[in-house]
Every structure is written in structure tokens, then in C-alpha cells.
């Protein structure tokens, strides 16, 4: 319970410290920002180690199912002296078989880490090359299939469908289908670079840009919506932490912080501070 109440106070402090940036750039904000940078780096590192490297790499190199007294597990036991939490006695039991081919990604990974040294800078390239190659192969297919071929399919509208009304505002209709067809084709033509956008072609591409603008308008509306939602979520949390069971953390932190910031502004009045942000 103490952990929870203390946590609430920490959370409230950090929240207000970030919000204080709206007033001006100040030490509270800078502290919170730096804590954020540090904590998130450590957080990701631990998270990825325990969900990937330990179970899926070490778990395949030294699975408990193949545990024996040979040299291979001798190496493992040696590691175990340093950290019995990462390398528990008797091999790692994550349900994997022994796969020595995983020494390849292990080696690439170690090379990536060694690239921190200036002289071995290029060591990272092999790992990056693997990542790039793998992503390129996967993405080329995925994007071509879902973003191109299936979108072509989605744009092939039925002209001959007796059940479809000609006009209907909200349901499917011939008119709405045509809007999609015309918008998609003209939009694609707008991104045509090897032809001057003049004359009739220019008129067509103008239609295309109008469709793009409507789409950006919708993106804009949704972006505003999302940002407001996040703010609502933040305030809801702050209201929760203002509960008596958290000793009214929100209001206390707010009052103290405003007092300190106000005081510092008051005393700084004479200095020509040009820290604009």
C-alpha cells in the first residue's frame, strides 16, 4: 500500500513537472524530461532482454532438455557463476530444442555491441545488413500485396449491380463508388512526375489534389480528436490521484509547484531572461 501511495505522488509530480513546460521551460520540466530519457532506455533494455534474448536466444542455445556434462554446458555453467538468474542451473527451460544455428544471430548481436568502439564501427554493418535485407524481403511482399494489389481490388467497383441504389448518403451506392474510383485515380495521377500538370491533365490532377486535401482535413480532425482524448485521460488520472486514499496528492503537488514557480518568476523579474520556448 505504501508503494501505491508513494507511486501516486511520484506520478503526480512527474505529470505536473511536464505540464509546467506550458508555463515556461523550467528545472522541473528538465528534471522530468531527463528522468524520462533514462528510465525509458533502462526499461526497454530490461524488457527486451527478458522477453527475447534470455528465453529465445539463450533458451535455444542451452536448453534444459539437452543438459549434459560436456564442454558446451561447461561454458554455460561458467556463465551461471556470474548470474544464476539469467543462467539457472541445469539449462534454460523455455520449451525449446537445441539450435546451434542461433549462434549466428548471437554473433551478429555481439558485433553490433562491439561497434560502440570507434575502430570497430563497421561491425554493426553486418547486423544492420541482415535487418535491412530481412525487412526489405518481408516489406516488399507485404506492402505490394496489401497496399497495392488489394487496394486495386477494392477500387474495382461494380457498375452492374441492380441492388445498388444510384445515390445514398451513408450506404454503398453507385455515386459513392464513383467518388472512390475518381478520387483514387486522380489522386494517383497527382503524384505523376514525368508529365507537366497543364491542360486537361492539369485539371484532372487538380481534382486529385482536392481529394488529397479532404483526406488531410480528415487526418487533421482526427489528430485534434486524439490529442484532446489523451489530455482527458491525463486529467482523469490526476483526479483519481486526488482521492483521499492517496492523501490528495494532486492538489498538494500542484500548490507546491505553483508556489515555487511563482516565487522564482517573481525573483527573476529583474533579470533579462531570454529563455523562450
Amino acid at each position: 500500500m505504501f508503494g501505491e501511495i508513494f507511486g501516486a505522488w511520484v506520478a503526480v509530480f512527474l505529470t505536473f513537472a511536464i505540464f509546467s513546460f506550458l508555463y515556461k521551460d523550467n528545472p522541473f520540466y528538465k528534471i522530468a524530461e531527463h528522468i524520462f530519457v533514462g528510465v525509458s532506455a533502462g526499461y526497454w533494455t530490461s524488457m527486451f532482454f527478458w522477453t527475447q534474448i534470455q528465453p529465445n536466444l539463450f533458451g535455444r542455445l542451452w536448453p534444459s532438455t539437452h543438459y549434459s556434462d560436456g564442454i558446451w554446458y561447461g561454458v554455460y555453467d561458467l556463465f551461471g557463476i556470474f548470474s544464476s538468474s539469467i543462467f539457472p542451473e541445469g539449462g534454460i527451460d523455455k520449451g525449446h530444442e537445441l539450435h546451434l544455428s542461433y549462434l549466428i544471430p548471437f554473433a551478429l548481436g555481439i558485433m553490433m555491441l562491439l561497434s560502440l568502439f570507434k575502430k570497430l564501427n563497421w561491425f554493426a554493418r553486418w547486423g544492420i545488413a541482415y535487418t535491412v535485407g530481412m525487412a526489405a524481403g518481408l516489406r516488399a511482399y507485404g506492402f505490394l500485396n496489401s497496399n497495392v494489389i488489394l487496394q486495386i481490388k477494392g477500387t474495382i467497383i461494380p457498375l452492374l449491380d441492380p441492388d445498388l441504389p444510384f445515390f445514398s448518403l451513408l450506404g454503398d451506392s453507385h455515386f459513392n463508388n464513383l467518388v472512390i474510383l475518381v478520387g483514387t485515380v486522380t489522386g494517383l495521377l497527382y503524384f505523376f512526375f514525368s508529365k507537366e500538370q497543364t491542360g486537361n491533365f492539369g485539371k484532372v490532377t487538380r481534382v486529385g489534389i482536392y481529394f488529397l486535401m479532404i483526406s488531410f482535413g480528415a487526418s487533421f480532425g482526427f489528430a485534434v480528436m486524439g490529442r484532446i482524448s489523451l489530455l482527458i485521460g491525463r486529467f482523469t488520472d490526476l483526479i483519481t490521484y486526488n482521492d483521499a486514499s492517496y492523501h490528495h496528492a494532486t492538489i498538494w503537488v500542484l500548490v507546491i509547484m505553483v508556489a515555487i514557480l511563482g516565487y522564482s518568476t517573481f525573483t527573476d523579474k529583474g533579470n533579462s531572461e531570454t529563455d523562450v520556448s
Binding site: T155, I156, L160, V185, L188, F193, K195, L212, M213, G217
Partner: protein, 287 residues
């Protein structure tokens, strides 16, 4: 690689595939044949135009208004005696957009060298800083003004998104650049940058492919290079044949796609009308 080698290579691949095919194509997932054809056709188109460009054939690219405005903006800064600010996005060099932004920077720095205008490039990644410095140095050398180049024109602020945005804002408010350019990958900070630039009355030109950020740039900047336009911009300015050829190749793929859409509508019409058996929708369904 000359033409003969290319044709021999391409022909060899096609020939061996045909042999494989007529041997009963073991292990081939036949349901995905459409994708296979698409990949082969599109790759072929791309390669064809890249090679064409490399051979030195003239390839026409239309003018992009935002790009023309770049030179005007630099000119205006010169007249007013104010600096030019260039922001190459907040992501690292592994993003295609950052690379494109740095290539554009190369051309902007050539202009500032020519006009003797101050250039200011705050960056948020160490690797981008190195790359941007190299590019600017090269441009100033090529314009014969190495005396005007100093490494600090490209400077690192911080990796953290909002801290970086705040830093750039500070620069804008203090130095009041007459032209601000945002070319690269942007996230939520796009809005903060464009708003501040707007409030100091600078000419603003943006270029990005981040769809969610384009609206903020379109509304707050004078010119915006949208999505593909931005990639084309780097090809356009760089004049590197493989990039220009690639743009032309992508244009041709677009022609194929539009042809497929319109042809598909016709085929569907014929199918629905009972005139042909071929069902285009089924054909395009890949499992």
C-alpha cells in the same frame, strides 16, 4: 554492366524460371502467382528505367512549386540579411525520409553559399549531424566558398523529441530566420515547429511523407512537398540517375496500376453481365 550482360542476365533468369515452370514447378505456391507476376513486372519496369537513366538518356520531371520556392526563400533571406533555418526531421539515417532530407540540404547549402547567406541546421541525431556536415562542406567547396563553411552551422541539440522541438523554437525566436525548411521525418513536433515559424513571419517550406503530419504543414506553411513529391524532390535536386530513373519507373508502375483499375472495372462489368467467365476479383485475391 552493359546492355549485353544485362540482357543475358535477365534472359538467363527468365529462361531458367521457364524450365523450372515446365518441369512441373515443384514447391511453388501456385495461389500466389499474381503476386509473383506483379513483383517481376514491377521490378522489371523499375530496372528498365534506372538503366535508361544511367545510360544518360534525358528523363523529364515536372516542376514542383515547393522546390522552386526554395531558391526564392533563400533569396529573400539574403535581401533581408537574415539566416536560413533547415530542419532535417527528428529520425535517424535509417529512415528513407531523413536521407531524402539530407540530400535536399545539400542543395540548399549550395544556394546559401552562392548568396552568402547564413545557414543554421539543428539536428537531433549524431549520425545525421555527421552526414549533414559532410554534405554542407561538399556544397560550399563546390561553390568555391570553403571559407564560409564552418562546422557549427550543423549542430546537434538532443535526441529527445520535445526537447529538440523546444530548442529549435528557441533558435527561431532568437535569430528570426527569414526562411524555415522542414524536410524529413516528423512526428508530433511538426505542429510546434510550424506554428512558431508562422508567428515569426518566416517563409516556410516543408517536405515529409508522414501522413498524419502533412495537414499541420499544409495549413501552417507556405509550401509543402507531400509524400511522394518529397522523395521525388531529392531525386530531382540530386540528379542521380538511379534516383531519377526510379521515379520514372514508379510513374510507369502507376500507369500499370491505373490501367489495372480501369481494366478491372471493365472486366468486372463484363463478368457481372455474364459476357465472360473470368472473375477479376478472384484473380486478384492472394492467399
Amino acid at each position: 554492366m552493359n546492355d549485353r550482360d544485362f540482357i543475358i542476365g535477365a534472359g538467363g533468369v527468365t529462361f531458367s524460371f521457364l524450365i523450372y515452370w515446365f518441369m512441373g514447378h515443384p514447391f511453388f505456391i501456385i495461389e500466389r502467382i499474381v503476386m509473383f507476376i506483379a513483383i517481376m513486372t514491377f521490378t522489371g519496369t523499375l530496372l528498365f528505367y534506372i538503366r535508361k537513366a544511367r545510360r544518360g538518356e534525358e528523363i523529364f520531371l515536372r516542376e514542383i512549386p515547393g522546390l522552386k520556392a526554395v531558391e526564392e526563400a533563400v533569396g529573400r533571406s539574403t535581401e533581408m540579411g537574415k539566416p536560413v533555418l533547415f530542419v532535417p526531421g527528428i529520425m535517424d539515417m535509417d529512415q528513407v525520409e531523413t536521407v531524402a532530407g539530407v540530400i535536399v540540404l545539400g542543395h540548399v547549402s549550395k544556394m546559401t553559399a552562392r548568396y552568402e547567406t547564413t545557414l543554421n541546421v539543428p539536428v537531433s541525431r549524431a549520425i545525421v549531424m555527421k552526414a549533414a556536415q559532410d554534405v554542407c562542406k561538399e556544397s560550399y567547396l563546390m561553390e568555391g566558398r570553403p571559407d564560409m563553411f564552418h562546422e557549427d552551422m550543423v549542430h546537434y541539440l538532443t535526441d529527445e523529441q520535445f526537447a529538440y522541438a523546444a530548442g529549435v523554437n528557441g533558435i527561431m525566436v532568437r535569430e528570426k530566420p527569414a526562411a524555415c525548411m522542414y524536410m524529413g521525418k516528423f512526428y508530433a513536433e511538426s505542429l510546434i515547429l510550424a506554428e512558431t515559424g508562422n508567428s515569426i513571419g518566416a517563409i516556410q517550406i516543408a517536405g515529409t511523407a508522414s501522413q498524419a503530419q502533412i495537414p499541420f504543414f499544409v495549413t501552417a506553411c507556405d509550401y509543402t512537398l507531400i509524400g511522394e513529391e518529397f522523395f521525388a524532390a531529392s531525386a530531382y535536386l540530386s540528379q542521380r540517375p538511379e534516383l531519377i530513373g526510379g521515379i520514372k519507373g514508379q510513374d510507369m508502375i502507376k500507369v500499370i496500376i491505373i490501367g489495372m483499375i480501369i481494366g478491372g472495372v471493365v472486366l468486372r462489368f463484363l463478368h457481372d453481365g455474364g459476357m465472360i467467365d473470368f472473375n477479376i476479383l478472384e484473380f486478384l485475391t492472394v492467399r
